[in-house]
Amino acid sequence: MSVVKLRCRKVVGGHGEGPAVVGRTRLSFWGGFDAGRGVITERGSPLEGARVAGTVLVFISSKGSSEASRVMAAAKRNGQAPAAIINTEVDAMVALACVASGIPMVTDLEEDPFRRIRPGSRVTVQADEGYVLVEDG
């Protein structure tokens, strides 16, 4: 097993870890995510059907609806929210969702997360310290 440490930039502070769910795509949490089951539902999305509860969710950014923060808050209440979020572009909607629901969020990883993080890899996000650990094994 190897562990790689990648520097990154904090967007919203905190610590979270879990298996990675990775999609080079944009997500709309309202209208594209079932907060009761924690499943991405947008038809045709590369992440359609993915379960995000307790994961480190890696995607480009949010898109679409401005209700992302409400939906994420509902997911959090239902125990279906991701443990941390890694985005390559920062949309105000995911940032707000993470602030309001206490989910750590980082961006600007020193390597392309879509190449570096394989789905299912164990990932630890230390937002305040500005790094991410990726375990491959």
Partner: protein, 420 residues
């Protein structure tokens, strides 16, 4: 972030715990987005105060509690902003979905309680996605804090007002504190065009403008697209473009050269950047056709459901649809819904258009939309003139969808089948 003495007192809870929480949301969100300060805001369109959606499934006792406790929190401090603050479409009581009995009564009770709380706080619960049609019309350069992705794009791009993409927590906090973090589209540099779309296809209907938005949103992502060439547009087209571009993308504003107040010329839209260095896309007849087919899941033939009014219809659009129906009956197998703000439904009633629509068998509904509140109807065949609604209805209710011009939707509703 630099805070004034007054802002720091708010943040530290000196004016009560809910204002302290709201201030924390604004400060942490602002820091996440690179804001250096909070600036005063006088115009808020918020969301999050609504009864739980009926129809999709019976709301749980917990959902009722949640809706009420959120309303209590969001209305806990009188709003400080001067302009009307409105809440977004999110309630389903307009839907006559069979016998709701005690459920409907319970929801009505919650709605009344929420209206009461909001009125005391100074929030006008207009429950619409087009508040600019019914009393909240921002002016050029006005700092706003708006939710509703389509309305955000509309007021930035068509009116020249200034808002970033807001969600429930930030907009509620802005209304109560009178401040927003300054970043993105509030600043000159956040409003410059960032990619170019040359429009060669003739855009004949509002739905065609929606196709342009659906195409461009995906290319733009979070950036501001500049549209060159499509000419001028009416209100219906502006709503379709604004809503579609914020469906496939996370777009905050676009520039339509010659229309967007701060983009009378391409040079203005680009804020001095060299157009030759920007990403360039062409939207011709092929792209127009291909965009319709991307969302098309229906063949010609029978349909079940026609939805018009995403974003909510203007009174003129309600009248146009009534005229297109021309007294004809909607096919017995088809449900034809028109969605509009509550105030315009009342106006349509007074003017006699509601009666005409009802005689045709069409429904004129307010306060919500099917993507928010319709029951799941797997495989239901839906025709609409809105790319946004078609996009979301697929996952929301399991619909098979297609988009066509408004008049074609009306004809299909009358015939009971769609001939593209």
């Amino acid at each position: 972030m630099e805070l004034s003495r007054e802002q720091r007192i708010l943040l530290e809870g000196g004016q009560g715990p809910s204002l302290g929480l709201f201030m924390r949301w604004l400060v942490e969100w602002g820091e996440a987005m690179g804001a250096r300060r909070l600036v005063p805001v006088q115009n808020v369109h918020l969301s999050g105060i609504s009864p739980p959606a009926i129809g999709r499934e019976k709301p749980s006792a917990q959902a009722y509690e949640q809706a009420l406790s959120e309303a209590e929190l969001y209305c806990s401090s009188p709003v400080r902003c001067a302009a009307a603050t409105c809440a977004n479409a999110d309630v389903a009581l307009g839907i006559p979905a069979g016998d709701q009995g005690a459920e409907a009564a319970r929801l009505a009770e919650i709605r009344d309680r929420q209206l009461d709380l909001a009125r005391k706080a100074g929030i006008a619960l207009s429950w619409t996605c087009t508040p600019f049609l019914v009393g909240n019309l921002p002016s050029r350069g006005e700092v706003c804090a708006w939710t509703e992705s389509s309305a955000i794009v509309f007021i930035n791009s068509i009116l020249g007002a200034r808002t970033t993409r807001h969600g429930t927590e930030s907009a509620v906090a802005a209304a109560a504190t009178g401040y927003v973090p300054e970043f993105g589209a509030l600043l000159e540099e956040g409003r410059r065009g960032e990619l170019l779309v040359d429009v060669h296809a003739p855009l004949r209907t509002p739905a065609d403008w929606g196709a342009l938005g659906y195409f461009a949103g995906e290319k733009a992502g979070l950036r501001n697209p500049v549209f060159r060439g499509p000419g001028r547009l009416g209100l219906g087209a502006a709503k379709q473009l604004s809503s579609a571009v914020a469906t496939t993308g996370g777009v905050t504003m676009f520039h339509l050269v010659g229309v967007t107040p701060e983009a009378q010329t391409l040079q203005q839209a680009l804020g001095g950047q060299d157009p030759g260095r920007l990403e360039l896309y062409a939207f011709g007849n092929e792209e127009l056709k291909e965009t319709y087919s991307r969302l098309r899941e229906l063949d010609s033939g029978p349909i079940d459901y026609v939805m018009l009014g995403c974003p909510h219809l203007s009174l003129q659009e309600v009248i146009q649809v009534t005229r297109a129906l021309a007294g004809r009956k909607v096919s017995p197998g088809v449900r034809l819904e028109l969605w509009t703000p509550h105030a315009l439904r009342a106006e349509a009633q007074r003017l006699g258009f509601l009666r005409e629509l009802e005689l045709s068998g069409a429904l004129l509904l307010a306060d919500s939309c099917p993507a928010v509140c319709s029951p799941v109807m797997n495989g239901v065949r839906v025709l609409t003139d809105s790319f946004k609604q078609a996009h979301y209805l697929r996952a929301a209710i399991g619909a098979r969808v297609a988009v066509d011009a408004t008049e074609a939707c009306v004809e299909a509703a009358v015939r009971g089948s769609w001939q593209p």
